[in-house]
């Protein structure tokens, strides 16, 4: 059974906090699927997460045009994908997908583009716009992430 958790984020500082908490749970081989409408803050969440784990001043440009940006973080390489422009799931293999899920960490925007390649073990994070700066985050742990999510967010 997938485990879900809903959090209200009143401002960007709360989003940054959540990103830091999620970042601390990550280990090599993990896949985080980010969803939410255009402008919901998927890339901003990824930026906070990457900066929380590595250099706080790291440049984290949008991966929309390049499809993927990689970051060498302590312990693993993080791959930030924007799969919006993919036309079929197998194209992700060309971007190094097998290497990623073997020993890297993947933050994936537009994960539905993965189709059948979407891993069974994954953390899903959906961002919904609730106001100018406020968002509602829904985290869902699938497969092995179901129990990890529960443990990771114990009070």
């Amino acid at each position: 059974m997938p485990q879900a958790l809903t959090l209200d984020l009143p401002d960007e500082a709360a989003t940054a906090n959540l990103a830091a908490r999620v970042g601390r749970l990550l280990r090599p081989g993990d896949v985080v699927a980010l969803s939410g409408d255009l402008g919901a803050g998927k890339s901003a969440f990824a930026r906070h997460l990457i900066r929380g784990l590595g250099d706080a001043e790291e440049e984290v440009p949008s991966p929309t045009f390049t499809l993927v940006q990689t970051y060498d973080l302590p312990g693993y390489t993080l791959w930030h994908f924007d799969l919006y422009r993919l036309t079929e799931p197998d194209e992700v293999l060309e971007l190094g997908w097998e290497e990623v899920i073997h020993d890297g960490v993947a933050l994936v925007e537009w994960p539905t583009r993965l189709g059948p390649r979407l891993p069974a073990d994954r953390l899903e994070l959906d961002l919904a716009i609730t106001g100018p700066d406020s968002r509602r985050a829904t985290l869902t742990g699938h497969g092995a992430w179901a129990s990890r999510l529960g443990r990771g967010f114990e009070p």
Binding site: D11, E12, A13, A16, N17, A19, A20, D37, L38, G39, G41, S43, A44, R47, H48, R51, G52, D55, A56, E57, E58, E59, V60, P61, S62, T64, F65, T66, L67, V68, T70, R85, L86, T87, E91, E94, L95, G96, I129, P132
Partner: protein, 356 residues
């Protein structure tokens, strides 16, 4: 001196040949060929094998168009990064193989340097000049001091301008590519002052850009409108242009001040040009605004023709030629570089948002 250039770092597969009289002998871009026109460059060449599939044919076609054979070429240049690693490897390996087989020098070109030096191919602009590079993937202000010598004054902390155009067009239901469609919509605006959108970063002391918040602001207006009418879309498109223009002008004006203080105009024509490169330079409104700013500050405004502003191989061949004639070539052990900043000393910018 004749140089053949190869570009495979992102969506385009391209080959071109230029010479040191600044003549473009051939310039072939795959998505501009008739059989690929239906896709209009929308589909990214994610697959390295797609580049591999077409590249040989494109090289042959470029040589035919230039009426040259490989024996008449003096050097082979290829984009060595930054970009998608699979594509870059295909271009670099092909160039190295040709160089090795023919005993020719190989030059690995930084894709951004290709954009940065295009104005010297098209308009013979002398160093130093100020460059605004605005495209789907990049948004940077650079002082171009010489071949391989760049000082980055500012960059985007999130989205590039072209990306903001594409995403805003999508929010407004206009389709792809966003630039031309948004511009067309804005021209139909009956009340361009109706919506107020923030001019991102305006007034900040640095020269950085940010366009992610602007997209979110457009989204908020669309949601408030419910189902925007054609008139709403036109007015919003106009407001978007105004906001982007205000932001670009403010950032450029700051950069011009910094550029002029470091590089006073000289008798060789240096220190006198504001160059705009990248696909966004095709936007008439932004072009006019930037030209006005340049004139006000006593700079000559230069923008290469659109076909040489978007990704192409002529710029790679030219940058290769500029490096080659300075004796800068690369060994066959050159490794493709997915990340390759033009100014390695540039300080990463701080995010405008709140830190955790």
């Amino acid at each position: 001196m004749i140089v053949l250039g190869i570009e495979t770092s992102c969506d385009e597969t391209a080959c071109a040949i230029v010479d040191d009289t600044r003549a473009i002998r051939a310039n072939v871009v795959l998505s501009q060929l008739d059989e690929h026109r239906p896709y209009g460059g929308v589909v990214p060449e994610v697959a390295a094998r797609a580049h591999l599939h077409y590249l040989d044919g494109l090289i042959r076609q470029a040589l035919e168009e230039a009426h040259l054979d490989l024996g008449q070429v003096d050097a082979i240049a290829a984009t060595g990064g930054p970009g998608l690693i699979g594509g870059v490897i295909v271009g670099v390996m092909t160039a190295k193989a040709m160089a090795a087989a023919r005993g020719l020098p190989f030059v690995a070109v930084n894709h951004l340097e290709g954009h940065a030096l295009t104005a010297r191919l098209t308009n013979d602009v002398p160093f130093p000049y100020l460059l605004l590079l605005v495209s789907g993937g990049h948004c940077q202000l650079l002082e171009v001091e010489g071949v391989g010598q760049y000082r980055r004054l500012g960059t985007t902390i999130d989205d590039a301008v072209g990306e903001a155009f594409d995403k805003t067009a999508k929010l407004l239901g206009l389709g792809y590519p966003g630039g031309p469609l948004l511009e067309k919509a804005a021209q139909k605006a009956t009340n361009p002052g109706r919506f107020e959108l923030p001019a991102p970063m305006k007034g900040r002391p640095d020269c950085d850009f940010s366009f992610s918040g602007l997209k979110t602001a457009v989204r908020r207006h669309v949601e408030q409108l419910g189902t925007p009418t054609e008139a709403d879309v036109a007015d919003l498109a106009a407001a978007f242009h105004h906001a982007v223009g205000q932001s670009l002008l403010d950032r450029c004006d700051r950069a011009i001040k910094a550029f002029k203080s470091r590089h006073p105009a000289n008798e060789h024509g240096g220190g006198r040009h504001l160059v705009v490169a990248g696909g966004v330079a095709a936007n008439t409104y932004l072009r006019e605004q930037l030209a006005k700013l340049a004139a006000k500050r006593g700079l000559t405004f230069t923008a290469p023709p659109l076909a040489l502003c978007t990704d192409n191989a002529a710029m790679i061949a030219w940058a290769g030629l500029e490096r080659f004639r300075l004796g800068q070539t690369d060994g066959l052990d050159f490794a493709p570089r997915p990340r390759w900043p033009l100014d390695p000393n540039a300080k990463p910018m701080k995010f405008a948002g709140v830190k955790a």
